[in-house]
Symmetry: C2
């Protein structure tokens, strides 16, 4: 019988999550049933949305219950199979969460081709974060040649894909990131036209200098102070795909006034702005095949680059996750589990 | 030589405009040049957007300069013509503003057919307000059968068209208006499914009762307290065309906190909302012909009704305009000038 080491939600956080909100357990897994596979986790993806799952506030997805295994996408090796569709030894993408092993229905996993790309990319550039960027830009951002696209958390998996997508479409890509090292990476490695350090005291002036013609697309994945500086620079007919608000996830109450919402609506009106929230799953039926084809091609021809921040050992997942919420990772954060 | 009595902007208002912000003058008009027409104003349209033109805050249109005639759409009779395209006696739609007479290029007016519809409708249901409703609902609101559409200022020219458009598309129409008389009109005359009085002390509860399945389209033309009650009731994938914010036009500063903007973005994200500001002119090239055809047909078959609130005499325009900003008009507000 296989056992699994897993990290469960011990309690719901108030504000920033801490180590006390997690608990590690070891459990015996059930027998592998008909049509099922037993998996050994190779990589676990850590993503900002997981903060939302720790809370029971109404959201687009059900929260993780206290005592349940934390959810998450994984890349795993099949160690036992009672399915004709998936063989032992295959590497698969699944959603088995923060644990070392799992038994799941074979229909819930997708077999990866390790020849095509490193398997961990199925959690990043060729997975959910990459598709968030691709679908949000294709359906909502719709950058045109010569327009200016701004994205924050720009060295992360979504932001870096957004900027490179903008470049491929002929737009000017401006990335916002924390610290000079990440900013240099945006320019030197990813080909952004400008990079702005949101930690710099003159952040607002830097942003202004980097967007002399205003902003046509703001890909919103952070909120907070960055959004506050960006929104007044939006041009007529600007588009704002909203896929995340990491800077606000730990907020426990609305910030002090004045109330900026009425003024924001005035701006929406006078600039004919489009603000559109989305979760990438909305666009999977329509766009996922195009995404896999296009991004694989762009990686091959060098127009799409990515970076991974690999943490070793499942036991370090909580700490790595806290760092993610503070912007400490550099590239797509994955935990090497096995 | 013809003279014109005109109302000019005497000074810019702070907060609500007052009589002191206007001044009446009589001026001699120039000779009618080649390709020009001389017009006698029959009807002047009064619309909320005019409040924006009185201020020099950045907006989608240039402000009226102090000392200039207040702008506005008009229906006029041609009293002299030096254009082959427009004959003396014709009734035309123009943009000659708050004045009794004007000399303009014939190319700037559109000849109306008084047989087809009362000429004043070119300022309302068959004009800019009607097209604001038609284009905003066609391009952004996109109501589907069975969905719930909410609109405020619902007895006004835009709101009444929005609700009736929703009904034609098979959606449930909920109107918000000020006072029981207007609410009764929405149900009894316009065929709305429900009406909610925003002046009632239990407004929020009334709104909740009128929208048991939440709200799929909120056509935003008021902002303020109404928007505050509506926004939390928006459903997944709800659309919010934003064409006006009359409740906020006289605001001189941002309201006190808490700051609701971050929470609003959280709602945009978790509900995959679409917020889209627009000015009807954006959609004129694409949709104006369809609009004239469809609405004329709907008026004829009885599925589209409208109401006018006619004020006699140009000298009463300022007072009528102040009332408009307070919701005192009942139906499309026009001034009968000649």
């Amino acid at each position: 019988m296989t056992s699994s080491t897993r990290i469960v939600l011990a309690s719901r956080p108030t504000g920033a999550p801490t180590a006390e909100n997690f608990r590690t357990e070891t459990v015996d897994l059930p027998e592998v049933g008909d049509g099922q596979v037993s998996l050994k986790t190779l990589y676990l993806s850590l993503d900002p949305y997981m903060r939302g799952r720790m809370s029971d506030a109404e959201s687009y997805a059900e929260p993780v219950e206290v005592g349940e295994t934390m959810v998450g996408a994984t890349v795993s090796e099949v160690i036992e199979s009672r399915s004709d569709a998936v063989s032992v030894g295959a590497v698969v993408l699944g959603y088995t969460g923060w644990q070392s092993h799992a038994v799941v229905d074979a229909s819930s996993v997708r077999v990866l081709d390790p020849e095509k790309a490193p398997v961990s990319t199925a959690l990043g550039v060729l997975g959910m974060p990459g598709f968030t960027a691709y679908s949000g830009m294709t359906k909502i951002g719709q950058p045109k040649a010569g327009e200016t696209v701004v994205v924050a958390a720009a060295s992360g998996p979504v932001g870096s894909a957004v900027g490179q997508f903008a470049k491929i479409k002929g737009a000017r890509a401006v990335g916002i990131a924390g610290g000079p090292e990440k900013c240099a990476y945006l320019i030197d490695e990813l080909g952004f036209d400008a990079a702005v350090d949101h930690r710099a005291p003159d952040f607002k002036d830097q942003l202004k200098a980097a967007t002399p013609d205003g902003i046509d697309v703001y890909f919103e994945n952070v909120g907070g102070a960055v959004a506050k500086a960006v929104l007044p620079r939006l041009n007529l007919y600007a588009r704002v795909p909203v896929c995340g608000l990491i800077a606000q996830y730990n907020d426990t109450q609305a910030p002090e006034g004045p109330d900026r919402l009425p003024g924001f609506f005035t701006r929406v009106l006078t600039k004919s702005l489009t603000i559109r929230g989305f979760i990438q799953s909305e666009f999977v039926p329509e766009l996922y095949k195009d995404f896999l084809r296009d991004v694989a091609e762009w990686i091959e021809d060098g127009s799409f680059r990515y970076r991974e921040d690999v943490v070793e050992g499942l036991e370090h997942a909580p700490e790595a996750f806290f760092g993610l919420l503070e912007g400490k990772n550099f590239g797509k954060l994955v935990v090497k589990v096995a």
